[in-house]
């Protein structure tokens, strides 16, 4: 950690900060520049130094961290890729997840029909919402517990492991047979819920908040891991920017960024990111080319009758075509990389 002092800091101030650091077993390195003094701090600052207190000292201008604030999620300490196993469906380290299904579960017929269709097309997991976070209290809120039941029926009918969102930790008992629990973008910093999910051993799909930084996403994962659960898949689903041509802005650069910083797998949700069904296939292929560990795609057998998010849902036929194109991209790159290694 580096402290930068205000230009007005005095020798007394420097003595004061030295004392404070020494009292915590930390060693300062003083660098007197032409305009300002900087102080490097050697030692275990992550746990021993309350950043806010130091920042509030009247002679401190800013503090800059050197080490990352996340440890368990950090690739530096865990170089091996994590593989998440959700009911037999693997994600990460070469295992590509294809999670597909409707935004909302609407009826037995609907979810089972879609489940069969996406399985036939190549899905490895079934997604579907029982508890739905909706901006308006007047919009359809999901079938809730009944929806979970139907989802489990679809699982039994097709053998596809399922992933579905939790909106309140009080609902956790209902999720016993769910293979992967989704934490939605709006809940990414519901820290009390993250802690409780950390105590389960369930695989978690952790969606990036609408304006969360990469670092905050990793800190949210760290909350879950610090409570004992390391079966986490990270999911980018678009961030909020000034651009309105798409619903959100899909930030595909997080794929190489996250792969560098963490060992956790990264999947991409182009359906929520773009909000427009006809843009989904292009962005799915792009995600695969950038090295994503999986995709989450909204598929509906009749988008114009969907109770939620129809505009971004593709049909099973389009999904099948999407799977083939993603496969073509992944195969081409795998062959190329194999040859490049051999050469």
């Amino acid at each position: 950690m580096i402290l930068i002092l205000k230009p007005t800091a005095t020798a007394n101030d420097i003595a004061d900060i030295k004392n404070r650091l020494a009292a915590r077993g930390l060693r300062p390195v003083i660098m007197e520049g032409a305009e300002k003094v900087a102080i490097g701090i050697i030692g275990e600052t992550r746990s021993h130094l309350p950043v806010d207190q130091v920042q509030a000292l009247p002679y401190v201008e800013t503090i800059r961290r050197i080490s990352d604030p996340y440890k368990l999620a950090n690739r530096a300490f865990h170089p091996e890729n994590t593989v998440v196993n959700a009911g037999g469906a693997l994600t990460g380290d070469g295992h590509f997840a294809m999670m597909a299904g409707p935004c909302s579960i609407e009826s037995r017929e609907q979810i089972i029909e879609i489940a069969k269709a996406v399985k036939a097309a190549g899905a490895t997991m079934l997604r579907g919402g029982a508890f739905k976070p909706r901006t308006s209290p007047y919009d359809f809120q999901g079938l809730r517990a009944e929806g979970l039941e139907l989802m489990l029926e679809a699982k039994r009918a097709t053998g596809l492991p399922i992933v579905t969102e939790i909106m309140s930790i009080d609902h956790l008992p209902l999720f016993e047979d769910v293979d992967m629990i989704q934490v939605g973008a709006r809940s990414m910093q519901n820290f009390e819920m993250l802690k409780e999910l950390g105590k389960t051993k369930k695989p978690i799909l952790l969606k990036r908040g609408l304006c969360a930084t990469v670092k905050e996403l990793l800190m949210a994962a760290e909350y879950i891991m610090a409570s004992g659960n390391d079966q986490i898949v990270l999911c980018e689903r678009g961030i909020r920017t000034y651009e309105t041509a798409t619903r959100n802005t899909l930030d595909l650069s997080v794929i190489p960024v996250l792969h560098e910083r963490t060992h956790l797998p990264v999947v991409i949700d182009p359906s929520h990111a773009t909000g427009v069904a006809r843009y989904v296939p292009a962005m799915a292929a792009a995600a695969a080319a950038a090295g994503a560990d999986g995709l989450m795609i909204e598929v509906h057998n009749n988008p114009a009758a969907a109770l939620c998010d129809g505009p971004q849902s593709i049909t099973p036929d389009t999904f099948e075509e999407l799977c083939r194109r993603v496969e073509a991209v992944r195969t081409a790159l795998a062959v190329h990389d194999e040859e490049a290694r051999a050469a």
Copy 2:
């Protein structure tokens, strides 16, 4: 509501949408422009028309709402200003709230000393965090239930009503003697919690999410109101933008915008918005001049020893000076406006 059809829409498509609308008791007005056809829809679209389904029709390009999606929070239907009464402290319709106190409750001595100081300086309510949402699991998480106890002691010692944040609806029983419950920025779209808070009659301080629009903030209020509670104070605390000179960007324009759209009072939190104690007094005066119904200010007797957010906390002396300047601005404008009305 207005539908805009794709340039490729056919006469059959127009007949189809007419039938769909008629089936729902809605009347279409067709406008054939040079390039595209637009269709105005007359009737109660808010509840009768599933927007997502219409948007997903293959010949629909976009949908544009005319009426606001919020009703209970809407000034159009409730022209009178709402006054929120939290343990005797009033906010709204000319009643100015001055909520002040530390970021976190740290000890009995600390909270009682600060409570006395802010009361003497002019605070109308005591703020303080018992449950603390922290980005890192390794940071101080608040004194939790014990902190609430100390907060209540400070209330008894000073007579100041208190406002403090709830992080999980499971903690609600602990908040029985709290005068106003704060929903933090990260929880603004915790819809399950909003619904439960709507069932209480407690005054709620609803903070705008870090990247929430004005409309989303009003929809969050609508969730609470739709469950039966209309004692809501809205709070702007800075939004996330690309600018890093301040922690967030304080969006003071929401004051006239919200006063136009809703009858609920609006308070401003310049401490969290700027993240820098020395910028707080200027932004507090600005908020008062723009017509805010109150302020929420972090005050600490020893910012450099604060366990949380010290850098943005001002001292009791600075707070007293801030109160006087805010009062000077409010008085000057009130006198001016009175004279202008008389003239």
Copy 3:
């Protein structure tokens, strides 16, 4: 165009707007909703109706356009893909441009060595900056006219057409032998310059501004086209968001969005977008998979000695590998799409 009147609008107001529209030869369609009145306007509003004047009428709440404000760049009026020919290098409609070279031209040896290397690896055009827009007046500002001379030497030595940035229309005479003139992100709305470039017949590479919307990018192209030049390549190079893990946020969704809205080709610059050399290859492959018409890549023979933007420059070896992977992706998708069409 749709006008939405304030809830307080009266019958007199409606009569007033009807008169105003009639006076301009426009036909209104009145839609009286439960809460507000909307008025559809039939006719050529793009040129006949001054939007700002109508918006300023005291009883008008908002105006919503139906037709796009751009005409010449609009695919609706020009369904065929545009192919831009810059000294023989084609971009668009299946022709993939690979523009590569250093951020800045530094010396004869440097630019010629890099030109040869990128040509050998698969570049179709040489990029390089002679006039450099730098945030600080104290940073290297480019070799300017001398740099252009060296660029032309590299062109003669390799046969590669060149693309380089113009910063002031006064420099235009120096660009006579340049094959494609780049308008940088900071100049995208330098409207006086766009008009002048429209009078030349030079191919233009128009970079999206750092916070320009898709619509504004298309309007900037419209400026050039309205002055007579339709040889324009659009370039996405990252937008400014709150995320700092990459320098900017690469918005790859613009590829399908722009292909839908315009006939102009779209190339992607992952070097400026990410600002980090090691993220460039992944994003280049992603851009190709999403259907980009080309790439612009910074390549330097010795990034650690580059006078500008070294951190985002890749070496010729990495560039060669990048070209092969991009080619693998493009071939796989072309083969797949061919088979899908045949089936």
Copy 4:
């Protein structure tokens, strides 16, 4: 400046960077932390160290500056407030500028009538656009040279100094009798123009770009100052964010931020920021309360007939009322601050 090395950096790498720094007369201070090595660099890094080259070294993770990159605009080196004198109208160090007038100059009658009205109401300068940057080539582009002539007539008729925008340095000769030249938001990083404006001695009104940081705004001022002109007024006019309730988001926090970092005066333009006339008075009062050195307000005698930006223009009557409220706020704070100092 602080270099942070990658966790994989070796002893050889450290020796290498030491040599490179020594070769430039810079002294390194090595800090070996538990996870990474940081290197403080003592000496005149601003001019002696090419940041991009160092950042591109393969073992360097990041670079963090300690000193600000702007020197002439920096308050640290010029503690006294700058006062800008434009034809007798002073801005800064207690002199409050009230710049008012129409968005566009439309006719002799219009500009003279408005000039007289705003002067009577309390304006210290007349603003008005002759050259207009418009997003669409089909919108009114201003009266250009003829508009400047009319502006000068209004100046002669009222004695008000004038401020108007330049869009191309080629137009500079037309601005000889203009008292203050405005650099619009879209031109803030037109560096070639900034350099030329630096060679004049004209006062410059430098508007913050739509997504410019405070640092970039100061670097743009530095460009002008480095060429010899220090008569600069900075102007905040709203930044682009995700929020659409106002046209842009007015960032009033820049007032205390800029006053801390620079000696240049700061004025606020709430008309362009909000884009809505009825929000302008509240934000004008807020700007004054936050300590702004002036305001720029759009005033039109007939907003519904304005050729540009009518929706954000207020009438002369509203402007007069705005001036009185701003005066009330400024007086109240001045009286309070005087008393506080005396006490």
